[in-house]
Amino acid sequence: MKLDTSIYLLDWLFILKGAGITLFLCLNAMVFGSILGLIIGTMRTSKLSILKYISGAYIYIIRGTPLLMQLFLVYYGLPVFFRIIVSAYTTALVGLTVYAAAYLAEIVKAGLQSVDKGQKDAAKALGMTSWQEFRSIVLPQALKVIVPPAFGFFIALIKDSSLVAIIGFIELTRSSRMVISRTYQPFTIYLGVAVIYFVICYGLSIISQKYFKANRQDIPKASQPWKTVAIKVS
């Protein structure tokens, strides 16, 4: 029997489907990671030292260990500690969410701290409660500082997410390896996959640039700190 090693359109479609799954996975991890990151980042700026230490420990532990280890720990840990067998998708999602939350929490913290103290004083002086002050004054202003680097992190996460292929979840990288294992044409396939990752990430960075432009007009110059805040991710 002769092996058919040519790459068919169907193979590329299979890989593209993997790309869609990668995007879907990262989008979900970003949504859950943002919610968790917002909570942890807010805890980080809390006056209560216990909240500060718990959130700080979380951030340092996650940022101080490789994503791959975290994925393995979720993969092997969930069944052992919680006695549940979860799908590869859930494992990947939990792993990436936990990872994203730590990085986003740092971004959130920096954003919250960038809001001028005078803004909070003014909110208090008008009789607002702490929650109203946070919700109506601090958060909206912080978000303008948070969103750009958070978006940058999202782009980085898409590249990092290729690691979940190792725990068996079929996304962009994994699906390309499956095609390679049949066609034995790693160079062509990986080149194609690299192009796909690039197109996704470049497209997202274009979107993010557009977003900032659209938002910039109504924001006072003095409070455009993202121009000076180093956009540091991963």
Binding site: D121, A122, L126, M128, P140, Q141, K221, A222
Partner: protein
């Protein structure tokens, strides 16, 4: 002495320290309904801190703050009640940077006073008219001059119907040519009978608008009295020194 019922605010032996720094030392004063009190004194004497304590933006170590015969307990919920009664105008304006002029004036009316959109809007426009900025309703703070921002800040505070306004050097961040447009608004407020505590370095203004001058130095009230007495005949050596310095430099 004045009728007790006319006393709006009373501070009794307020003490406040930042670490080892004793910033307010046994400060006692009363503010009578409808009167303007001006606080003067050298930099670092504790004027800002005193105002911030009155509005519970800063906690006090000891002493009592009584407003409308009600003692303020800074730890309890009634700080919000207090802050609804007491407006604060800041040296740096502190308009909400992400909101327009109109939104700045409407926000607390909506969420603190629970007024309807219509009511809050009408009040905002009537106040903007009062400070002469009706046409700037949809501008963001960054699009306004300092003087305009400060007038919006005054309108924002007035929208809460405060019984007392605290003003902390509200013109010292302004270019000289913008000072008078803000002071004019304050003078009008005084004429309308608004009770105010004004911290200022503008001695002429203090003299004209206030019925009482308080001179502070090193966290203490050194001397207080009617403007004529303080400016023409200060009893204390330190008051004289201070006035000599500031008045001769003008």
């Amino acid at each position: 002495m004045v009728d007790r019922n006319l006393i709006l605010l009373e501070l009794k032996n307020i003490n406040k320290s930042f670490g080892n720094l004793h910033v307010l030392n046994d400060v006692s004063m009363t503010v009578v309904q409808g009167k303007v009190v001006a606080i003067i004194g050298p930099s670092g004497s504790g004027k800002t801190t005193l105002l911030r304590c009155v509005n519970a933006l800063e906690s006090i170590d000891s002493g009592e703050i009584v407003i409308e015969n009600k003692r303020v307990n800074p730890k309890s919920r009634n700080v919000h009640e207090l802050r609804e009664k007491v407006g604060f105008i800041f040296q740096a304006f502190n308009l909400f940077a992400h909101l327009t002029t109109l939104e700045n004036i409407m926000l607390a009316q909506r969420i603190v006073k629970k007024r309807s959109v219509k009511e809050a809007r009408e009040r905002a426009f009537s106040l903007l008219r009062k400070v002469g900025l009706e046409d700037k309703a949809n501008y963001y703070p960054s699009q306004l001059s300092g003087g305009q921002q400060q007038r919006v800040a005054i309108a924002r505070a007035l929208a809460m119907d405060p019984k007392l306004l605290l003003m902390d050097e509200i013109t010292s961040a302004l270019d000289p040519e913008l000072v008078s447009e803000v002071l004019d608004v304050v003078i009008q407020l005084a004429k309308d009978g608004m009770t105010m505590i004004i911290v200022t370095h503008e001695m002429g203004f203090a003299r004209n608008v206030a019925s009482r001058i308080i001179f502070m130095d090193n966290g203490r009230i050194i001397e207080q009295g009617e403007p004529n007495k303080i400016f023409n005949n200060p009893e204390q050596e330190r008051t004289r020194d201070f006035l000599n310095k500031v008045l001769n430099h003008k």
